[in-house]
């Protein structure tokens, strides 16, 4: 029998061809993994909603906290400084003091409240007016109320001013009514940390949700993975669609989360503005900025990719044809 001509083995594709095939495979897998989600609409919707809720919650809290901080910044404006003077301060010394402070470049104006005026005001406002009536002397000191210029209304500068005034003659005590503001700041610090902690925990849950979906997908495709390995596929080639799957979960879940954040904020916008309006503030609830929106989606993609990477990890290497 005459033997047929021997087949020529296929030459290995050139580097350029292989690189183009590599890019082509990425595009193909990108679309394929999206199609895979589309073909399992129920499971996909379920997973995406879990991701979206887990991300929307800390994102909403974060945006609200930012809003709270802009409100308290506005309240910073009331930062006045009260200088309680020694009761025996003479009239010329008082005038001198007032002039000195008025000239200070960080002072807007100075208001003098005499001891008598302070007493009568106090009497008008206090329930103990009868009791005060019986006092032989006026216990209240004369007071200078200093309003700093706007640029000086920050806790650092105010504290500096306070120290300066403290050293002036005839000044008994300087009071900066900022304690409540500092308390509020301390509280927002706690809230900020709490939100960060919640964000980390919920981010972890996104990782687990994506990881679990991908792990299930891998188990379902065990036979397919074994076959592709036998055909000579590298682990990277097999890993690719699963990683892209995680990326899609992250991207779509992130977009959905952003949508939820906007819905929630738009729903509470009006009542929040009404509430703050009661405090005479022209407050407008800020929605997430473009950068913030992009970072939300970006971190979601990262979590999706990382979650699928964790799930894929050694799993693909462990699946061997049998």
């Amino acid at each position: 029998m005459v033997k047929a001509r021997h087949q020529q083995p296929l030459a290995r594709p050139s580097f350029k061809t292989r690189f183009r095939a590599y890019v082509r495979d990425h595009v193909r897998v990108l679309l394929f993994s999206l199609g895979k989600l589309y073909r399992t609409p129920f499971a996909t919707t379920f997973t995406l909603l879990m991701i979206a809720v887990a991300l929307a919650l800390p994102a909403c809290l974060y945006v609200l906290l930012n809003n709270l901080q802009t409100v308290t910044h506005k309240w910073d404006d009331v930062g006045q400084i009260s200088l309680f003077l020694q009761t025996d301060t003479s009239e010329p010394a008082l005038k001198q003091l007032k002039a000195t402070i008025t000239k200070h470049e960080q002072v807007e104006n100075v208001n003098y409240i005499s001891a008598d005026l302070a007493l009568s005001e106090f009497k008008n406002r206090s329930e103990f007016s009868d009791l005060l009536e019986g006092l032989p002397i006026n216990p209240l000191p004369p007071t200078l109320v200093v309003t700093p210029i706007n640029s000086a209304k920050q806790s650092d500068t105010l504290n500096k001013l306070k120290k300066e005034f403290q050293s002036l003659a005839n000044v008994e005590q300087v009071q900066l009514d900022m304690q409540w503001l500092q308390r509020l700041q301390a509280i927002t610090d706690i809230i900020r940390r709490a939100i960060t902690a919640i964000g980390i925990m919920l981010g972890l849950s996104v990782l687990l949700v994506v990881g679990n979906s991908i792990r299930l997908d891998i188990e379902n495709r065990r036979a397919e993975i074994e076959v592709t390995k036998l055909i000579g596929a590298t682990d990277r080639f097999i890993r690719r669609p699963f990683l892209y799957g995680g990326m899609w979960f992250g991207l779509l879940g992130g977009i959905l989360a952003l949508l939820l954040v906007f819905i929630v904020l738009l729903v509470i916008r009006q009542p929040a503005q009404d509430l703050v309006g009661l405090y005479n503030s022209d407050f407008k609830l800020m929605l997430p900025s473009f950068i913030q929106s992009i970072s939300l989606i970006g971190s979601s993609i990262f979590l999706g990719l990382f979650g699928s990477w964790l799930a894929v990890g050694h799993r693909i290497a462990k699946i061997q044809p049998s």
């Binding site: 021997h6 095939a21 592709t228 036998l230 055909i231």
Partner: protein, 231 residues
């Protein structure tokens, strides 16, 4: 092409699947591997495809020692082989064309070459008109032919088959065997595990008989004619 030197394979639990096996299959040879279940046929194929590693002894493919081949080099080794399974192992979420093109996709061929090679392979197994169909809609024999097309589409030097006719009727089985023979005619080294003795004896090729992990007989077609003398 394929050489096993004193190979012993022991699975966990001390079951010895192969015992001190020596075997050489020359380039361009076609051989059948037969024996009762548990004789070590599948294990032998797995050692050649680097699915399993021998416990002792050495395995050479194309004069390269693959006994302790690192994991990352296994894909490249397998790209020189084609494997046909009893139950086809086709991917059911893509059509015939995409199934057959998979080895070429993996190896990174240009799309034009892929198209040409896939059509050539499908033409060879007479399924050119079914390239757009989903595997599930094909008959068992057709599915097996798709599996064969996928195994040869990248022109491998070695073709391994594990019970490729296990689920087919005698007529289809003969047709599949003829296909393997055709590939052998163009120089492919073919090794087929099968227990269909009637069929493989008619092919007049070398038959390697295993029993309990040992090679009890290896007769070339010439020997077959002198069967009495050989024994």
């Amino acid at each position: 092409m394929i050489e096993l030197q004193n190979v012993t394979k022991r699975y966990p639990g001390n079951r010895e699947a192969l015992t001190h096996l020596n075997l050489t299959i020359e380039q361009g040879e076609m051989a059948f591997l037969t024996g009762p279940s548990g004789a070590g046929k599948s294990t032998l194929l797995k050692l050649i495809a680097a699915i399993e590693r021998p416990t002792r002894g050495q395995v050479f493919i194309n004069r390269k020692n693959i006994t302790r081949i690192p994991k990352r080099k296994v894909p490249a080794l397998r790209r020189h082989m084609g494997v046909v399974f009893q139950d086809h192992h086709l991917l059911h979420d893509r059509n015939v064309f995409d199934n057959v093109s998979l080895p070429l996709q993996i190896a990174g061929f240009a799309q034009v070459d892929i198209n040409r090679r896939v059509r050539a392979a499908l033409d060879k197994v007479a399924l050119l008109d079914k390239e757009q169909m989903m595997p599930i809609t094909l008959s068992g024999g057709e599915q097996q032919r798709v599996g064969i097309a996928r195994a040869v589409v990248h022109k491998p030097a070695i073709l391994l088959a594990d019970e490729p006719t296990g689920n087919l009727d005698p007529e289809l089985s003969a047709e599949i065997m003829r296909l393997f023979n055709d590939f052998n005619q163009v120089g492919v080294t073919v090794l087929i595990a099968s227990h269909d003795l009637d069929l493989i004896e008619r092919m007049s090729k070398r038959i390697i008989r295993l029993r309990a992990g040992e090679c009890i007989d290896s007769q070339s077609p010439l020997d077959a004619q002198n069967f009495e003398i050989h024994n």
